[in-house]
Structure formats: C-alpha cells, structure tokens
Symmetry: C2
Subunit: 598 residues, 2 copies
C-alpha cells in the first residue's frame, strides 16, 4: 500500500488563493492571531501526524479490529500509543473554548486536519471526532460547573466523549426513544435504557469516557419535544473533579461486526440506573444536539473526501507504474513490453473524476466551515445570523454529496487497480468499506436530502437558497470582464438557473402534495451538490488563472487545476440535466405502487 | 437475515410471456424437447437448491472463509456436503455435450439457475461456474481423447475445472504472460510459471481439479498471437482414465485475502514442470478461450443481478416492517408510534431503482442467452451467424452494465437499512462486498466498455449495432397501433435515436484521433446498457398489458410491473441525456493532463 501523503499543496492553494483565510480571520477579533504562518505550521504538523502516526496503523487496525470481552473493549495494537501521542500534542482541544483549556482555533483549520486524519485512518479519527462533538455540546449548553469539571480533561484528551442517541427501535426517529432519566435527591438523575451504534462507547484509549445521552424525563411530552440531554461519565468524579474510582452503572454489552471502520468500537451501551447530569434545559435535548450535529456532519463529509483523496493517491501512483497494453495513439514506451495504464483514457476518466470531486469537495467543506467560523466568531450579529442560515443550507448537502462522491471515488480508485484493488494488500478495498459508513451515519444521506429540501427549502419558501444564490451572484459580478473565466461562468450560470427552476417547481408542487418533497429530495440534493461543486470549481479556476499570471507560480500545478476543472465541466456537470428531468417527473411513479407490490 | 426466495413468478413471466421460450426451443431440433413443463420443473428444483442448500451456508461461509495450510485449501463448513449434493443432482453437466454425459440444456435455462445460485451464495456459485466454463472450452476445442478422458467426470461434478490466465504482471494484457510449455517426448508438455487470482485453483470439494492454462510454446510469436491452451490435471490419470494417484507438479502457493467472496478460494498457482496437454491448435489459446468467455461474462452479469435481487428481497421486507417516522401525507398507522419506512418516497426510490434494474437485467441476460442458444442450436447457419454477432455486441454490455447496476443495487439495499445495513447481521454488507468483484473480474468493466465501442463498434463501422437496431425496429413495428404502449415507445425511440447519433459521432471522431474511442467508452457502454434496459422494459410492458386483458391474470402483479416500468422511464432513463453530453465532450479533457499532473 502506498503511504498516505498530506495534500499540503492543495490545502495551501485553497486556503490562501481561493479563500484568502488570513483576511477572513483578521476581520474577526477572536481569530485575528490566526495568520497564514500559524495555519501553515499547524497544518504541516497535522500532516505529519496523519502520515507518521495514523496511516501506519490503518491496515493493521482493520485486520485486527476491536476486541470485546466481558464488557471490556480493547483497541487494536498501536491505537493507545497513537492516541496518547495525539492527545499530548494538544490536538484534542484545538477548537475548544479557551476559557477551559481549549485553543479556540477556527473550524476551517480543524476541518482540514480532520480530513487528513480520516484519510489516514478513519477508525482512529472517529475517536477524536466524537470527543470534539461532545465537548462542543458541553461548552455550548452545559452549566458552568459541568464545564469546569469535564471540559479541561476532554480538551486534554485524557478523557473522551460519546454521543448516545440511537436505540434499537429508534434511529432517524429519535422521538421514539425509551431511555428514561429519573431525578434523584442530589440534583442528578438515574438513567436506564439501551443505546446502540455508539461509536467509542467503550475503549481503552482514555482514563474516562463521558457519554452525552438523550433520554426522557418523567412526564416529558411525547415525541421529539420530550427529549433531554444528560452527561453520564463512565467513572464518577469526586468533589475536586478527579476520578473517584467509582464505576458508574453504564456498561458495554457488545460491539458490532461491521463492514468497515473495524478499529472503531461500535458499542451497545446499557444504562442501568446510571448517574447523569442534565445538560441545558429539560426537553431541549434534540435542539442542543443540533448545534453539534452541524459540526459532526461536516466531519462525515470530510471522511468521504479524505478517503477519496487517499484512494486517488494509491490509484494514480499505480496507474503510473503498472504497465499493461498500449496507448491507442501509438506505444509510449516502444522499448518496453507495454505502457503504463495511465495512457488509457478510461483510466484517466476514473482518476480525474476522483480528483475533480476531491478538490471541489474540500473547497465546499472549507466554505461550509468558513460559515461556521463566521457564525461563531464574527462580531456583527446580522453577519453571524446570515452565516448560520448558510450553514443550515450547506451542511446537509456537504454531508450527503461529499460522502456519496467519496464512496464513489473509493470504488473508482479500486477499479483502477482491477483485481489488485479487490485484495486487501493495496488498501483500496478497506477505503471502500470505511467510506461506506459515512453515507449512513450522522443522519443517512436520504435524511440529509429530505432535511435540505423540506426544512431548509420548502418550509422557508426558499429563503436560505436566496442567500446562497446571492453569494453566487456576487461571485459572478466579480468575474465580469475576466476573459479566461467566461466559458466556465456560462456553464455555471446555466446550472445555477436550473437549480432555481427546480426549486420553484418543487415548492409549487409541495403545496398540492406533500409527497412531492420526498420524491424530489435525493435528486434535488444531488443537483444542489453538483451546482455547489461547480461553484467551487469556478472559484478554484479564478484563483488558478490569477496565480498563473505571477512569475512565482508553479505553472504545472495551476495548469493541472485548470485541466481538471475543464474535465469537471465536460464530464461531471452534465449529470445536472438528468437530475432536473428526474425531479420534474414528480412523485407519482414512486407513490402509486401499493405496499404489497413491493 | 431474510432467507433468499427464488423469484419463480418473475422468471415464469419472462420465459413465457416475454420470451415465449417454448416456441423458440421448438424451432430448433436439439432443444425441441425443452418444453415449458420441463423448464418449470428444472427452475423450481434449482430454486429449492438455492434456497435450501446454498443460502443457508452463505453467511457462515463468508464469516469463516477458506483456510490455507501447506498448499491445502479447505472450504468453509458445509461447502463440501453442499457441492456433493449439487453434483449428485446432476447440475454440473446441465448444459454439457450429450455425447459425453452432459444434458444439452439451453443457456437461457442455466442462466436463470446461475442467477439464483449467485443470489443465494456467490462464493459457492463460482466453483460451479468455473467448471462449466472449463468443460465448455474442452468440449469445443479439445481432442476426442481429452474429451473422453475428462468431460464425463467434470459433468458429473466429481472433478472440477479452473481457468488459469492471469499472472502477476499480466492481467488485461495477456500477451505478456511468461508461463512456458516445453514439449516432452510423450506428446505432452511440461508447464512452468505462476498464475494468480485463480478461482477454485485448489479446494477440497472434488477428487480432481482440471486446470486450463494459458502458456507459451518455445519459439511462439510474441504477444497475444503466441499463446496456447493446455489442460493440466491436479492428479494425473492412468491409461483407463482413472486417477493414477500421482500428483502433478501444480500446487497452490497461497490464497488471497479479499474484500468479499471469501468462501471462494482465490489461489496463486505454481506450475513446476507440470504435465499438460495441448487443447486445440498451438498459438490459438486466446481465441479458444474467447468462446468460453462469452458464457463466463454472461455469468458475471448474472451474479450482479442475483445479488441485486437478494438485496431487494431483504431491503423491501425490512422497509415494510421497520417503523420510523410518519408518512408526509398523514399517519398511515395513527394508532402506532410510527409508520413503516416504505411510506417515504425516497425509500421507494431506492427499492424501485433496484427492482426496475433487476427485471431489466434479467431480461437482458435472457436475451443474450437466447442468442447464445440460437448460435449453438439453430440449424440455419445464417441465423446462427447473426446470433453470434448479436452475442458479440450484447455480452460486454450485459457483463458491465448488469454488474454495475448490481453493485449499485446492493449499496442501495444496504442504505435502506441504515446502520443495520452496515453491520454483518442482515447480510447486505456481504452482498455489497460479493457484488463488487463482478465489476472487476472476467475483464474489468472498463475493458468491456472498450471492447464494446472499439472492436464491436468502431472497428466494424457499427455493423453489429445495425443488427440490434433492426431487432428494436422489428419490435417497434409490432407495436404500431397498440395504444397502451405509445407513451413508452416514444421515449424508447428517442433513446434509440440518441444511441445511434452518439455511435456515429464516435466513429467519425475515431478516424481523426484513436483516443476518442477510449474517451467515449464508458459513457457509451452505459448509454447502450440503458437503451437495452429500456428495450427490455418495452417488452415487459407489452407482455404485462397483454396479460392484463386475460381473465386468468394476476392483475396486482402485472399492475406492479407496469408501475415499475413507469418508474424506469421517469427516474432512470433520464440519465441517457447526460451520457450523450459526456460522450459529445470528447477526449481532450481526459488526454490533455500530463502524467506528472496526476
């Protein structure tokens, strides 16, 4: 297996040339010290960790998997040492609240670090992501006391966090959860119930595990409005906040045997009158979770993108080395038996598809992350609010489209290697298995698509989309008169227009028949994703053309970007036409089948 | 995991209503006795074997995998018993030459049996498929002596066959193989070399294993024109044709650790002056293999389709039982907490996509199989020749398109189950892993696409396509005046026209730039596949409307077919528009990237 290399050049180009992050961060007091130099230093160091610490235990972790015995989960060889090194490097608290030991770094930065971690070792990355999500929930909704007692150790990585939502009968529909929280006399609660699919629910990486658990208070309203959020530590703390040595009544019943992410422990967690503490307001558990979920969903898109990049690296290296057959236009290496398979157009099609989507996907993720940063750090409330609205619209697309394209990329990368891609040795089949989960967890992609078109579009009459369209228009105006960009802009504009028309179609139809929303949802998410990727490519192309005029530029690199952008327009964007037709066909051909005809 | 059920109703409808096989078989003397009753009896019996013998050891076989120790391969628990029962049932020789103990049955029949076997247990099916392919090669190209000594035992299933083509450095490009065959003084040869990815190269299911090996004679011409075919038994025979007890010098060096089909032994085979016998003419090995390859490739498409059907069965049953959320149009089960997820349009989209493609894929496979049967059994040479030409065109599409749609179907089925699809319990993640190989082996799908557009289209100036178009036109003429069909026919006609135009575009461009062929290849294969699926749906719809007029018809069933066909036209066929645009964009955006820019 080819070793994973952090894509530092691409990252620098996006941060500096496309997004001009230093200017953005300088505009907000809390990020003013995040200079290009600081970013470069952090990204490079994170790249070294991905390459040197995480990648080397990726295949071995998959092969060995997690072990379960009598409630104890042991992670594969090397994971504990790597996690300790990761924690000691200060990475667990990178974006954390500075008042509790976090480093207050922006999400644009940590997004790139997450992508590299997922690319190098998705199972490992999950332990870190879950902790980040848990600390975010606690820092936003927890009481001062809870924050002081738990956040510093979680930011230090000596304790880790989980999210306990799903139950055997309640996944997407969390309103049906049965886990109960009964108040006791000490201001805390006793939680009882069973949670499944709990990532990092039990493991040997940290001294303590802090569970964030959705449960119902006595007499809570029915459904989603009766869910509260609780903090349930594996080991209880003493008065001073240290480990008391007393084990709480929460335990791991078993771990799942899964298609992939085998080194990530996916646990059944049993709560048997476990002591827990209310986080935030009673019955507001779901909405408290949702803040965190935007960040978690962004991470899943990054997993898809990271594994796609890893697959690209392996497949492109293979395509340059593996000789088989001849170039159609005549032998490239007449003195040898055959040419590298990179001479074949169809091999290039597969590689360029991955590459074009990885770059656009990373740009879209950074774009969404920038809105998260603005909504967190910007001093102007109206600007924060606008960014929040963009986040609400962008995240479901970024999550679903980047994970779909990521999985597709891993499959394509595997295909480049033929039979060698199907055997374990090269690592590509593991990438396929590991990438697959990102389309499923944190809200399956169909649920993201429904969120996008339902709550985020139809229910608000397309208001959020208008904000996005104004961002696109602003860009289009900025490019008026830029000659090199005109062919691309017209293609983009057409796509943007098609998206708008499809949106209006669906909004109009939904008023007549609510099933029109779900019937359009997936194709609509794909159309929005494709349009956003096209938007990102416009911005990359603009930056590449601008960079090319500089004497200092690496013209081979920018030329490669421009050609990849052309491939995107020629070969990937046409899919928009069929998506528009699929949306236009409406709900009838889905809904007319009777249940017994399936 | 839901148990696999043989799709007998769908099969009967296709055989009787769509393809009228009794009439076809009655028109050829060698198949005149294959009546509807005989077909029904055989299909039903095969269904029982798939359900009762193969399906029960599918998951356990995946979990256990094959064992390798000191050259000995042991299949998972239950495989040997199942294989023995399968052989004793007479299934190994079903399509075999009647002069050597085969049963001379048509491919249309065995295709359905193969699909069911792959659906129930792909690893198991591979042992049988390889043997069928080996016997076909031997019966077509072997000497009378070789046929008499080997075929009866292979048809009886007491010996099994393999195909030894690939070497570490030579997969697609077999011209580079290094395995050598040196003549000895006894009319036989001594083979030396290493073959990889040899399915069923070593196992414990049969008394002997007969390898069909590509190798080079001394002073053979370079490249593909210098390859000969040899029969190399694991155990040598005595004069009377019984096992001599002497082990030939062919041995298994190791087995691969693969993504899926884990109960199928994929072997590295070492030939160390192993005794072999020339099959057919010297240096004609590749062309001897190609006859067999049309059958093998058809089988791979059937694997994709079978696993898709299996995934559909599990996912549709789950979608009817799993309650989560509410129908958008109001609660379906107001007295319960939630509705079955089948109420959600997007779940229906996933299920209908699978179902529409499974039916079309099975029909296309039967259509290709019917041409194989005509080319084998028809008394009129010109009709045989025409059928051979259709086979040449159809097989690469059927192989690539059915396996792509099959894999996609398994992924969609898995998605319907959400997290439950990602864990091993339900069997869907195994289907995904098992289906993936079908896109890769027997000529990766990119190679099929290139074969289709290169050798089968551009190089013959579109002559083969004209035959297919005339079949389509004949159908269109037959439907003139059939009112119920008119909306479908116009959609089909447009698609047919788009295919023709794209073909002409590529042929014209290829004259200027040979890379245009490869650049168009994959989208062209997909366009042809989609058009053929549309053609198959026309025929299914015609049959369904006709059946609906009969008092004896099951109107719920035919109505379901018609609705599924409408879904195909509304939701799947629009992809053709973007494929046409992708093809039209040409080779530049693939070929302009320099190697170092990848």
């Amino acid at each position: 297996m080819a070793a994973y290399r952090a894509p530092l050049k691409d990252i620098q180009f996006l941060l500096n040339n496309v997004f001009a992050v230093e200017r953005l961060f300088a505009s907000m007091p809390d990020t003013a010290e995040v200079t290009d130099d600081l970013i470069s230093a952090i990204v490079e160091e994170a790249g070294k960790i991905a390459e040197g610490l995480l990648s080397p235990i990726n295949q071995s972790g998959d092969r060995e998997g997690c072990h379960f015995s009598d409630g104890v989960v042991t992670t594969p060889k090397g994971f504990k040492e790597a996690y300790t090194a990761y924690a000691q490097g200060g990475w667990a608290g990178l974006t954390g609240d500075v008042n509790y030991g976090g480093q207050g770094m922006p999400k644009m930065l940590s997004a790139l670090i997450e992508e590299m971690a997922f690319a190098a070792n998705s199972s490992f990355a999950l332990y870190t992501i879950l902790n980040t999500g848990a600390t975010l929930t606690l820092s936003q909704h927890g009481s001062e006391e809870l924050k002081q007692r738990y956040l510093p150790k979680m930011y230090a990585g000596t304790w880790s966090g989980t999210m306990c939502l799903t139950e055997p009968h309640a996944g997407t529909d969390l309103g049906m959860i049965k886990t109960k929280a009964a108040p006791n006399n000490e201001g805390s609660y006793q939680l009882s119930g069973t949670k499944i699919f709990i990532t990092a629910g039990e493991h040997d990486l940290t001294e303590n595990i802090i569970h964030f658990v959705l449960a119902k208070l006595p007499d809570a309203p029915a459904g989603a409005r009766g869910i509260s959020l609780f903090l349930v530590p594996k080991f209880l703390l003493d008065e001073s906040g240290d480990l008391s040595g007393e084990r709480n009544k929460v335990s791991c019943g078993s771990i799942e045997h899964k298609m992939g992410i085998k080194a990530s422990a996916t646990c059944v967690m049993n709560f048997d009158s476990a002591i827990g503490y209310l986080v935030g307001e009673p019955n507001q558990g779901l909405s408290h979770m949702f803040t965190m979920m935007n960040y978690e969903r962004l991470s899943m898109g990054l997993q898809g993108n990271g594994l796609a990049d890893s697959s690209y690296q392996i497949a492109s290296a293979y395509a340059k080395e593996r000789v088989q057959g001849r170039a159609a236009s005549g032998a490239l290496q007449p003195d040898q038996n055959a040419d590298p398979i990179l001479v074949h157009p169809d091999v290039r099609r597969m590689l360029l598809t991955i590459r074009a989507n990885v770059l656009a996907g990373r740009a879209l993720s950074l774009y969404a992350a920038s809105q998260l940063d603005i909504s967190r750090f910007h001093p102007d409330e109206s600007i924060r609010f606008r960014a929040q609205q963009l986040v609400a619209l962008l995240i479901p697309v970024q999550k679903a489209y980047c994970t779909d394209r990521g999985f597709e990329a891993c499959v394509l990368g595997q295909q480049v290697l033929g039979g060698h891609g199907y055997v374990a040795e090269w690592g590509l089949e593991q990438n396929v298995r590991d990438a697959r989960i990102a389309q499923i967890y944190e809200g399956a992609n169909g649920v993201q698509a429904l969120d996008l078109i339902g709550r985020k579009t139809v229910r608000c009459g397309g208001e959020l989309l208008k904000i996005l369209l104004s961002e696109m228009d602003e860009f289009l105006v900025s490019q008026e008169g830029v000659e090199s960009m005109q062919p691309y802009l017209s293609v983009f504009n057409r796509c943007r227009q098609r998206l708008l028309e499809s949106t209006e179609t669906v909004i109009a139809r939904a008023a007549e028949n609510p099933d029109e929303i779900g019937a359009a949802s997936y194709a609509y998410m794909e159309l929005m994703g494709l349009t956003l990727y096209c938007f990102m490519w416009q911005r990359i192309l603009t930056a590449a053309f601008a960079e090319q005029t500089l004497a200092s530029s690496d013209s081979g690199y920018t030329d490669g970007l421009i050609k990849t952008g052309q491939f995107f327009m020629d070969r990937l964007l046409p899919r928009a036409e069929s998506l528009v037709a699929e949306i236009a066909s409406g709900a009838d051909s889905m809904m007319s089948m009777k249940a017994e005809q399936f």
